[in-house]
């Protein structure tokens, strides 16, 4: 892009992506704009409602059958008759509208792991999804955010959505990550600093030398949880890691946007990773981050490794490294859910699934399942789970008097062996 003209107004990448999708050079923060979207996403919970609203709008066809993704991943494989009916409803709609990116059970994965993997979401895209963790795709340098079913319905009809152009908070990470620390620990630590509404309505731009060397999977985990700080986007600039990830994967050309060095930021956090320990967020807010090694004896009933936050290869590799040759503690259940079929297959080829099953873990087909208290690992009254998921609200994984502790894969795997919250050094 020819950006260095004399009249250039400095902008963040969030502003530039929105401006591009309105056919403009510049948009102001706080401005309300109507912009074209590159993809509209929905799942088995939000899409039925979106389809009902779509029908009310009174258009016959979706704006572009290639720019809609429908992923039945939350209560699937169908957990009960009502869920089956919801899935049937969206399946029929997808068939009738000839939706290109509909993923049936067997091909389905957790939406926010699946769409990047399939090269459907790309740098520079403006994406809305009827799922709050749609902010995940910011890891590719896209402006991507969660909205409701009605917003998805209107976007399916018109190809547009309204946006308030967000301010941006810049998070600059320096230093090196300690052994076992991943993007999940960085984001839990960060939400501990900002609080659950510290980035309300804002774009969270993650940058700095520690991000440059961070894996794609860890970047997805970080951007995934921007919403847990109230953020609209979690965004990371395109670099060589992004480029490599996209090779042989992207389904169409993409456009790269960078923030200007002199762009205006709402606030900046400077975070040195040298001192960041493995994190656990205590019930009942993701912002209750603490050092895992300082937690004392917190006995567990269940461990979940999976979800749109941490069900990727890096997570399974870490879990397998810790669990290999050991047995999970007999007092708890350990449930491992590879996020997509591709990840499932690769974990099988690498022997991780064998490691897990030999250790006494249950390994599941892809599903959001337990993360939102849907199925595949619901907690009883008084039970406690550590999970690599993204929310620990009251009742999130089952009974309103159960508890969820959030962590990355290393603490979850070590805890599975120990039967209580533990760090890897305690079990290997």
């Amino acid at each position: 892009m020819a950006e260095n003209t004399e009249n250039r107004i400095p902008q963040t990448m969030a502003q530039k992506i929105i401006a591009w999708h309105c056919g403009r050079q510049y948009v102001n923060t706080g401005e309300l704009v109507n912009a074209k979207v590159d993809l509209v996403l929905g799942n088995d919970i939000t899409m039925p409602l979106a389809i009902e609203e779509f029908k009310r709008i009174g258009v016959d066809k979706v704006f572009d059958r290639d720019k809609i993704a429908i992923v039945p991943d939350h209560f699937t494989p169908n957990k009960d008759i009502k869920s089956a009916e919801q899935c049937k409803y969206i399946r029929d709609f997808a068939a009738r509208q000839d939706i290109t990116n509909y993923f049936e059970i067997g091909k389905m994965g957790i939406e926010h792991a699946l769409l990047p993997e399939q090269g459907i979401v790309l740098p520079g895209d403006l994406i809305i999804g009827a799922d709050s963790h749609t902010c995940t795709y910011g890891a590719l340098g896209a402006a991507s955010t969660g909205m409701g079913s009605t917003d998805a319905a209107v976007a399916m009809a018109t190809g547009t959505a309204w946006f308030m152009v967000p301010e941006t908070i810049k998070f600059v990470y320096s230093g090196s990550l300690k052994k076992w620390v991943t993007g999940k620990d960085l984001i839990l630590y960060t939400i501990g600093l900002t609080g659950v509404d510290g980035a309300l309505y804002m774009s969270m731009e993650f940058t700095g030398s520690a991000i440059s060397v961070l894996s794609m999977d860890s970047r997805f985990a970080m951007c995934n949880m921007a919403i847990e700080a109230g953020g609209k986007f979690g965004i990371i600039e395109f670099d060589d890691t992004t480029k490599k990830y996209l090779e042989g994967r992207h389904t169409r050309p993409y456009r790269v946007f960078h923030s200007d060095a002199d762009a205006g930021y709402f606030k900046q956090y400077d975070i040195n990773c040298d001192g960041i320990e493995l994190q656990v967020s205590l019930p009942h807010l993701p912002s209750n981050a603490a050092n895992a090694k300082d937690l004392g004896n917190i006995a567990l009933d269940q461990v979940v490794i999976g979800s749109c936050t941490n069900g990727r290869m890096e997570d399974l590799a870490i879990a397998a490294e810790i669990i290999k040759g050991r047995k999970v503690n007999s007092r708890l259940r350990t449930i491992i859910i590879p996020a997509t079929q591709k990840i499932y297959m690769e974990a099988m080829e690498k022997g991780y699934l064998k490691t897990f099953v030999e250790a006494g873990c249950a390994v599941s087909t892809p599903t959001c399942g337990p993360c939102l208290g849907g199925h595949m690992g619901i907690l009883a009254e008084g039970e406690r789970s550590i999970a690599t998921t993204n929310r620990n609200f009251v009742g999130r994984m089952g009974h309103p008097k159960s508890e969820v502790y959030l962590s990355g894969p290393a603490v979850a795997a070590a805890s599975a062996i120990a039967g209580r919250i533990a760090v890897p050094e305690e079990v290997i």
């Binding site: 309300l32 709008i57 969660g146 079913s149 009605t150």
Partner: protein
Amino acid sequence: MIIKDKVIKYGSNVDTDVIIPARYLNTSKEDELAVHCFEDLDADFKDKAKTARIIVADDNFGCGSSREHAPIAIKASGIKLIIAKTFARIFFRNAINIGLPVIASAEASENISQGDELEVDLDRGIIKDITTGMSFRINPLPAFIQEIISSGGYVNFTKKKLGTACDCGVNCNKK
């Protein structure tokens, strides 16, 4: 539009999982959702909502999931208005899109108590606490958002723009 009713008061970070737990999201039917509204936060909500139909909350109301089922469950429970110090952004959009009035006001949130009777004039932008005699000004919403609300929600707004609306009324489902 004037809303006159009593207040149910909640604290900070009322999340969408306690507004409508995911275990009930295997339906989008509003009456079924209303049955379980707030059941993990406040077992007495349904009783309270018989006589108090304005919710006043602290920071970050509606944080968490994008489920539109949350404002739908609240609206179908008979709640006419939510006032909070701040709203989570997806919930705020969803409420506006389905025509549930939401007002962000730190001053009102801090000074209004459980059980107070309010008279809220949405057009003139004034919240009057009849119980305490205090008044609070509402910051006007952007014109674009006001147009969505006055159209009766985002779908009706879109129908007008696309020319697919029927002229018999804004809630008509016909073309």
